[in-house]
Structures are given as C-alpha cells and as structure tokens.
Symmetry: D2
Subunit: 363 residues, 4 copies
C-alpha cells in the first residue's frame, strides 16, 4: 500500500460511524448523479469522508482550504479512487490555490462543503452563474457562519447553507474531548514539559475550557480558570478549580491556554507579571486571544524554535506556541482533532445531505 492509502486506512478503522454510513450509501446510492464540491483540509480523516460520499454515488471534486494543511500523499491516493477528483497541493501559491477552487467549481457542484467559506464566497462573487444549479451547502467555521448570517440578513445569501457545527453534539465531543485532548497533546509534544504539578491557566470555561481543565487536572496539573461570565465562573469554582482574573493568574501560571473565542485575553498588561519561562498557547479558533504582535514589536530578543517563539522582555522569557494560532493544529507535530471526533463531524455533514438519515432536531 502507498503512503497516502496507509494513512487513509489507518483513519478509516477508527471511524465506525462513517463506515456504517458508507455501507448504507453503497446500498442506497443517495447521491447518484450528483456532484459535490469540497474545500477542506486534505488529510486522512477528510479523505474518509470523501470516500463515503463517493460511495453514495457522488462525483466529488475537492481542493484544500489552507495551503499548509494538504498532505500530498493523501491527495494522490484520493485521485486514484473512482469518482474523486482532488486538486489540492501543499504549499501552493495563491494563484494555484484559487485556480484549484475554480476547478472544483468548474464541475458545477449541486452541493458545497466548506471549511472557511471559500467555495460559497467565490460562487457569490466570481461564479454567480452557478447559483442557478446549486442546491445548498454547509459550512464548518464559526466565522464563516457569522458572515453567512450577515449575508442572509442582508438578503444576499442565494442558497441555503447549514451550520454544520450548530448542535450540542459538536460542543460535547469536538470541544470537550477533541480540543481538550489534542491541545494538551500538542503542548506536551511541542515542549516536552511535564504536566503533573504544573499550574495550568485555562482562559474561558465554555466547552473547550471545561474539557481542557478537566483533562489537565486528570494528568496531575493544578488548574486555574479565568472566566468573565459569573455563572460559568461559579461552575468552575464548584467543579474544584481556582477561579480568578487573568491579572491575578498571570503571575501564577506555568502554562496558559486560551479558549474564550474573544480577543485580547492575554495582553501587554499581563506579560510583565508572568513567570520566566511561561508557556502561552491558544486553543480558540482565531489567533486573536494572545497579543503576539505586541511581543513581536517590543521583545528585546526573539528566539525561534519549531512551533515556539520565545520573547525576552524585562529580563524574562515568554514562549508562545504556534504564533498564538490554534495549538492542536498549528504546531509542527499538531494533528488536529482525534480521528473519532472527525468521524462524528463527518456524520453530521453526510447526514445533512441525505434525507434518508436526516431529520431536523435529530442531532
């Protein structure tokens, strides 16, 4: 077996939900004659979703949604499967990136699957001729959904788009368990520090924060939670975590992880209070929770290691992982979510496009 197939077959065996859907799709062929366009991270877990749709009779055209997340061996393996056409290439240029988007759209998909709204955006701007034939789409990211809601309110959204993660299932599994475990793993493999005995500061006690706080404590960390919502703060307190403001927590933490979804969680007002050697990371979707820009501009010295930028300022060194980007994806050894989490996410996507499986409220 070639490298890409080895990766896909590895992921497939831990995706029992998609496997059982594939069996059904093979029998029922719900997508026979339909073209599906996709722009997703082209790696093994995505490939299993693609296979599943193709097994249901769909002609699938797929490209990447980020030039750095494509795995070329997986792309090659996909291209050897019937009814699958993959245009993604790692480290492609901007021109190549959009040319690949266009290739997907040239296939005139009836349905789009986006992770970052690339297809939907291009259809609404450069490729409006497709609006006539498109049935609908789905979008994964919260930002994408925000923009789509705005478009819908302004009357500019031309076809229905389903918010694929808008379900309690997402929060309980992707956030609590997926983000919880994979962020800790990413921090451990990037830094080689021990979690046991460390003061881990988790900013935000939403679903991601709860997963991280609970699992970090489970490894032996002493966890501090910062949270501005008083009810959630009280919840964290009663769940046994130390709750305080970031102003207080700044001087106590050994490892910081932000999960708030808000901006400016750890900023220039906190850096001077921190311990020498503090490790800062973000598990929220956007790289806006840590004020990395300020460190870049104001640090006396900067050292760069794989996945770690170290800023010396006021005699102390602070380490930022993955430039403040989503730590479970963006560190060099990051693998994104565990396979099982993407299995359930794949289930939600396929369910949306298959009347056989989908009934409103069934999540």
């Amino acid at each position: 077996m070639k490298s890409g197939d080895l990766k896909i077959s590895w992921a497939r065996q831990y995706m029992p939900v998609l496997s059982s859907i594939r069996e059904r799709f093979e029998r029922e062929q719900p997508f026979a004659g339909m073209t599906i366009g996709m722009a997703l991270h082209v790696e093994a877990k995505t490939a299993v979703l693609v296979e599943t749709l193709a097994a249901g009779g769909a002609e699938v055209h797929i490209t990447g949604c980020n030039p750095l997340s494509t795995q070329d061996d997986v792309a090659a393996a996909l291209n050897e499967r019937p009814r699958i056409h993959c245009y993604a290439k790692r480290a492609c240029s901007v021109e190549e990136y959009y040319a690949s988007i266009d290739k997907v759209l040239d296939a005139r998909p009836a349905v789009t699957i986006d992770d970052g709204m690339d297809l939907i955006h291009r259809i609404h701007t450069e490729r409006r001729e497709l609006l006539k034939t498109i049935i609908g789409g789905c979008e994964e990211t919260t930002t994408g959904i925000h923009r789509l809601r705005a478009m819908a309110q302004e009357g500019k959204l031309a076809f229905p788009v389903i918010a694929v993660n808008d379900t309690p299932m997402k929060r309980y599994f992707d956030n609590v368990h997926g983000t919880g475990e994979s962020s800790l793993t990413a921090i451990m493999t990037t830094t080689n520090v021990l979690i046991g005995g460390k003061h881990v500061v988790v900013a935000g006690y939403g679903y991601c924060g709860r997963g991280l706080a609970t699992k970090a404590r489970g490894l032996g960390a002493r966890v501090i939670v910062t949270e501005i919502d008083p009810r959630r703060a009280l919840q964290a307190h009663m769940d046994g975590f130390d709750v305080m403001t970031m102003d207080e927590a700044a001087s106590r933490g050994d490892i910081f992880v932000t999960t708030t979804g808000n901006t400016s969680i750890i900023t220039r007002q906190h850096f001077p209070k921190m311990k020498d050697g503090a490790i800062l990371s973000n598990a929220g979707h956007f790289n806006v929770e840590l004020e990395v820009d300020w460190l870049e501009e104001n640090a006396g010295a900067i050292e760069r290691r794989d996945g770690i930028d170290s800023y010396t300022i006021g005699g102390k060194t602070l380490h930022v992982l993955a430039e403040g980007r989503l730590v479970n994806l963006a560190v060099p050894k990051g693998m994104g979510h565990p396979i099982e989490v993407m299995d359930l996410r794949g289930f939600r996507k396929t369910a949306l496009f298959s009347k056989v499986l989908y009934s409103p409220g069934s999540t």
Copy 2:
C-alpha cells in the same frame, strides 16, 4: 543561536534543580582537575547534565549509548563548550560506536556515568589498565544493575558502582509521572486516536502502571488493570479500576500498555481474542512483554506505518507501536521523559559524585 544551543537552552530552563546545582558547582568547583567519562543518550536534557558537571570543573568526555538517540546538533553544541568533548554521532556504524567509547576511555576518566554499562563493561574487559585510576561509576538501567550485582557477587567488580535509580524518588517521579505522561503522549501522537471513552488495558500495577492508569482515567479512558500480585491487584480494585486477567481483558481493550518488567505479557494466546484494530504498546524497559516475533511470523499480512506495524491475522488487524519497544522513546515522535523528570534524575547523578551534596539516604 544555533539549533543545538536552542534545544539545550529550552531544556535548561525547565531544569531548576540542575541550575541551582550548577551555581553551587561554579562556586565550589568540586570536580576541578577530575575527568568524567559518560555514555548517555546525547540529546538536550543530557547536555544540561554535562554542562553542570563541566561547570563544576570536570573535564567531560561523552559519547552516545545508542546510535539512534544521538542528536547531532546537540553533540556539535556540546563540543563548542569548554572542557566538554563529545564523540557521539547519529547512525554511526558499530565500529565507530566502539571507537567513540574508546575515545572516552582514552581520557582516563576517574568516574564513569553509564546508561547501559558500556563504559564499565569495556573497562573490565578491553581496558583493564584503567582499573588502577578509576574511583567509581554509576549506572542507570535495571539490567545493567543486575549484571553488576552478579559481577560483584562473583568478586569480579573492580570498583564501586552506584545504582542511580535505586531510590523511592525514581519510582515516584520517573515512573509514575515521567513514564505515565510520556507514554500516553507517545500513543496519542502516533495514533491520533481519542483516549476519552476508550478501554485502556494497563498490564501491571507497579509505579509505571499506577501513573498510566491514573492519567489515562484522568483523560476520560475506562481503565482495566491486569496484575498477578494479589495485593497490588486489590489496590487497583480499590482505586476504582477494573481488575482481571489478560485472558479476560484481551477481548475488551482498545489500547494495551504493558508495564510489568516481565516477559510474555501479551502473547499468541491473547491475540485471537482481541478486537479488530486493537493498539498494543509497551512502556516497560525491554521489548519482551509483547510477543511481536510470533506476529511477525504468523500474520497473513503486515503493513508498516511510522511507528506502527499492523498485523492481520484471523481476519483482524492488530497494531503494535514501536515494535514493542519502550513506547515513549521508540516511536518516531517520542521524546523520552519530560524535561523535569530528567532534572531530578540529573540531580541524583550529580549528587552521587559530590560529597558537598550527597549523604547516604538523602534521596
């Protein structure tokens, strides 16, 4: 800063114990005029120990203790430091390996620091002329210690050797926390599976087993313990783990980790009972706990991925991590123990050689 120095400076900051010893050594120069010979894994955490000894006035000659564990950039960085001479080279030949051992011994060390008994063994066989001047040595591995005890009983051990890990400190920190965390991290980064919800079978409820079982449960796993010592089995039971024989556990586990220190823990009698897709790994010192040979000889098909060998037998596929070797070291992304664990281990080694710090029973 060069790559090797970046790695060493990263490790150094999370080794406060060695840092404070270094300050003392710089002041007191306990090793002034003394030559120390070392054969250890030449990577960043070891380098901090080497620096510390050199700071105390020692002339340090070091080579690797395993051809694959040497990091060439760290070796280069060591060679640029005063009083340090490093002969290790990654992927060297057997001849080169022993030539490097001999270079260390050519420096006529008064003291040896071994991880696998290479120096001590060679001194007692090929280089007996050194016996006149050597003061003593230390050895890290349990196997090494066993052989040394045998030599001592036969009257063949010619100088005192200290068993560096023969202390409760080792068991509580290296085993419980070091092996516990780093084995889980290695499994997670190698397989990308979710620990939450999995049945993790931990063979052996010694210190390594307790650490692994507790931390796996802390991540959300359901943990089964196998243990033949009835007192430890009862301990595991009362600590809330399911306790059963491997014969019973074989069919329930999703992930297996052996930590017994014994041979033949998971064998041909267990493989047929296992689930399709079961993951097998070993966190004990030797690769004797899983009967990998039998799988190699009897599997109908074998697929090899990075750090994972997959054996198909009787319609099911079993995955063995790192060929059944110590999983936290031997998988491609394995980093060995967390830095802090090696800080404490370094403390024990330096303490042994410094009367200033060492008094018997002080561990």
Copy 3:
C-alpha cells in the same frame, strides 16, 4: 444560645449570598409593609431565608410543607424573631397541618413562597377571596410547576407564579453538586459500606446523574451509567463511564442510584439478576423509579433497619434505602442539600421578589 438558634447560626455562616442580600435589605427595606406567606421545610437553612426576608421589612408568616421535616427548635427560634410568625409543628395531624396553612393565609400575604404548591392550591380553591390582593408567588418543585402550567393553559391560574428552579443555575449547583454529594453521603452514612472499588450504577445522565457519577468515581467507585437518550449516553461514554442498559447493569452493580425523573427504572425484571446484597436507592424527586411495591408484595422475607428495607427473594437479599424516596432527604441521617446549595436557592427566591436585585435573564 438555644438549640434552634445554634442550628440557624451554623447554617447562616455558610450562606454568604443571603448574608450580603440581608445587608442590602436592611438598608433598602424593599418589603416594608408587605406580608409574605411561606410553606417550606422548617429547618435551619430555610430559617436563614426567612430572616433575610424579614430583614427587608416583610412580615413573614410560615408553616411547614411536610409534617415530618419540621424541626421544632428551629420553629421556636423563628417565633422569637420580630416580624416572623411560624405555625409549623413536627408530626402534626392532617387537621393541624391545614389549620396552619390557613393561619398563614389569614395574614393575607401579598406574595407566596411554596414548596409543593400548598398555599397556591388553597388560595385557588378554599380561599379565593385572597386573589384580589395577591401579587404573585413562587414554586420550587417540578411537579408543582407542571400543575401550574396546566392551570395556566386552562386559564385557571389567577396570579403569576415564578418557577424558582427554572434556571441553569439550579441544574449546575443543586443537581450536580447538591444532589451529587448529599446522596453519596446519605448512602455512606446509612450503609457504612466503602465506595472505593464498588460498582455504582447511576441511572440517568442528566445533571444529577453527572454529579453523582463524577463524585462516585472521585471516591474510587467504578461507575456504570444507564441512559436512554443516545446523545447523553455517548456523553457518558466519552466521559469515561461504562454505558449499558439496566438489563445488563443489573447483574454488575453493588449500589444503584436512580436519577432519571422517570418511572419504573429498576423493576421486577431486574431484581432477579442482581447480586445478593445489592443496595438500591433513588435520588430523583419521586419514589417511582424503583418498583418497591412489587418487592413488598413478593419478597419471601423482609427485614427492616433504620432507613433500609431488605427483601429476600429467590435466595438473594436486596436492600432498598429510604423506601425508594429521595435518598438524601429520606434516610434517618439525611440532611437534604448542603447549606451552600440552599444559599444559592435562597438567592433565587429573594431575587424574584426584589426589583432591586432582579432583572429578567439575570440568572
């Protein structure tokens, strides 16, 4: 200090929220000139709520909501306080019970605080003359709320009633922590068995179930969850609990606790499968989750101890705690919720009646 005052002062010190509200009420006198009627469990934690309302200027008339939950020394202590009139008496007759309800209503309360709808029901039936002057009420129990909703739909509810527990705060604190801890404490003090190592079966993975499962595991139990909602079942699975049907769990459990809010959770079909000596209890509101009637009628022999009825049937003995009633309240040593939980519940009640504190959605 007398016995009742000692009990009240004990509770008061662990009710900081009501204490800070009392300070405010003393200053602002929001209830000056207002009469409040209450029918609640007359024990120390309730007394602190009563004090708080009286401190705000209210004239408070209170009686019990269950003849067995009144503590006469607390009732006496309340009667010695200004503006408080307590009519509750432990073990009173039915006639005395309703006579006391009527005494409260004779005071013509503007506002009612019920735990079981006694006041509201009597006003709507026997004492309709009060409807003219009443402003509103609040009700604590879920049953009460169901009946009130039905009345409202039929147009028969004559004044607004607030569902005091209809808030996420209730679920996170009363259910997870209050029920979780106090049920375990009640089981431990009633049976004197060790939780560590036991198989504890928790029926239902709602908020009560989660609290119980997590805390039982925290004491060293091996926890099995039964749950018919597939999403919650998957949540329990990923949180690391064994999930199965009661049919399967019946033969494995040492201790059972039902928390579903549904009927017939553990029934005649499960009893024969259970271990000799199994302990059965209920932490849901009503005594309908265990089929105790069937045991009473069919057991070959019955032994009764304090809080434990033991049924021998088919050669095995099953122990039912507190006749299947709410175990944290109904066992002889049961104390109901921890003090802090009633502090937050008191906060919700006072907040509802004080515009100063209350704004919709503020819970």
Copy 4:
C-alpha cells in the same frame, strides 16, 4: 430478628473474607478447645470477627476497649451465640470496666486480641499467673505497639505479640480508603457543608493524607497539602496538589484535616490567620494534632453543638469537630471504618492465629 442481630447480619454480608474464613474454620476447627480473650469495640463489625473465631471452635470471652463504643444490642446478640461470652456494657463505670477485663482473664485465654493493650497490660501487672499458659496475643494500635516494643527491649514482654497492622495491606486499605472515605463522610454529615469548591487543607501526605486528598479532590474540593518531608511534599506537588506550610495554608483553608501522627500541627500561631468559619478536624490516631486546649482557654466565647465546638477569638469563629479526636469515630454520626476495611483487618487477625492460613510475609 432483634436489633443486635440485624446490625450483625448487615455487616456480615459485606465481609466476604471473614465469611470464607468462617466456612473453612467450621470445617477445620483450628481453635477447638482453645480460649480466646478479646478487648475490642463491641459493635457489629467486631461481632462478625467474634463469630468467625467461635465458628473455628474457640471459646471467646470479650469485653469492650472503650466504655462509649459498646453497642448494648450487639453485646446482647453475641451473648446468645454458643461459645461466646460478652461482658461489655455501654457507659459503664471505671470499676465495671476493669471488672469486665478481669472476667475475660478469668477464662484463662490462650490467646489475646487487644485494641489498646488492656488485656496484655493487665496480664503483665495484676494477673501474672496467666503468663504460664498464654501462647501469644495481638495488638492493633500504634501506641500499644510502641509500648510493647519498649517492653520487649527491656526484656519485660513475657509472650509474643503480633503487630496486627504492621503490613502494607493496612496502609493501602485502612488508611487510604478507610480513613479517606469515612473522615470525609463524618465531616459532611456533621457540618452539612458542600465539599465541592471548598479549600480543603490536608496536613500530612502519608497514606491517610493521600486518601483524603485524592477523594476530597474527587468530590470537587481544591486541596492544599502541608508536608514537612521533602520527598512526600514533592510527591503531593506532582500529584497536582498545592503544597505549602501550615503558616501559609492557614489563611486559605475552609476545612482542615490533620493526618500526620505528630503533635501540634495546627496551633495558636495558625488560629489568628484563619478564615471566619473555618472547620478544623483530625483524622490521626491521637487528639494531639490540633491545639484545642489553647482554644478552650483563650476563646472569648464558646458554643457547643453536636460534635462541633465553636471558638470565637479575635472576631472570628473557628469550629473544631469531635474535640480534635479521630473525626471518623468521634463525631456523633461517626461509624468508624467502612465494613469492608474491617473485613480485611479481621482477616489479618484470624490469619495470625491459624497456621492453616498464616505464613510469614504473606500479607
């Protein structure tokens, strides 16, 4: 069944180890013709041990080892069994107490079972004529063992006595689980406070301390450990607990539990730093860990509730549970160890006297 028999039969069913020993004893009659003298807490769990020895053919004469721990209904039930003679009486006078001891000795026991050395002491002083016929004895308490060791060194111990708790089994089960759970239960039932969210200070990280700290955290507490042994302190730190001196911890704790076995753990130097309402308790064997005398003499006001003495001093009130005595036994609702712990302890005692079962080192 009468009250005493109901209690004994309740305990018996959760003592499977003694049950299986009893079956063997009934068959093998190892004590046929032997008289055993006992001075133990006469309650249900002890009664099961007594039954077991009598089943083995022994003539058992038993009295209490503390006038307040005798349960008269259990004593009565024992007296109705063949070959058992019980002289214990609750709240007996000092004269009656020693008269009962003498009655046991009048039976000329070949073997003694002590919990506090009453029998052994009296034999060595007032009843030396028994020395000729006595074979040996066993003693449970650590103090007793200390005195016996001193006697042995001075050559004054006239027959062999076995230290029944001198085994790892004791520490792992009695201390970690028995003391851990029952102390928390005793605190919860005595105070009715919530453990979730509380700062619980555990003094000492021996086996009792570890059990308490782990289980308190498992209920949702934030646990601080104080420990003067640096290795144990580091262990507690790496296990995820906050470690500090009592000087620091004094101002943070909501609930304190001492488990050190040393004197003067919480003293006049700590009281002024404590929070108003702090709860102080001791889980160590002797009431010497809390400086209660100083509070008794210096408090401005003292209030006494069941099991709680409240000292007001410097404007704050501190609550001491059970006068600083062993909290799991000495609070009014205290039940001592869970049944299963006494089952294993009973196993150790019977094993000692039965060659059939006993071989050195078998614990």
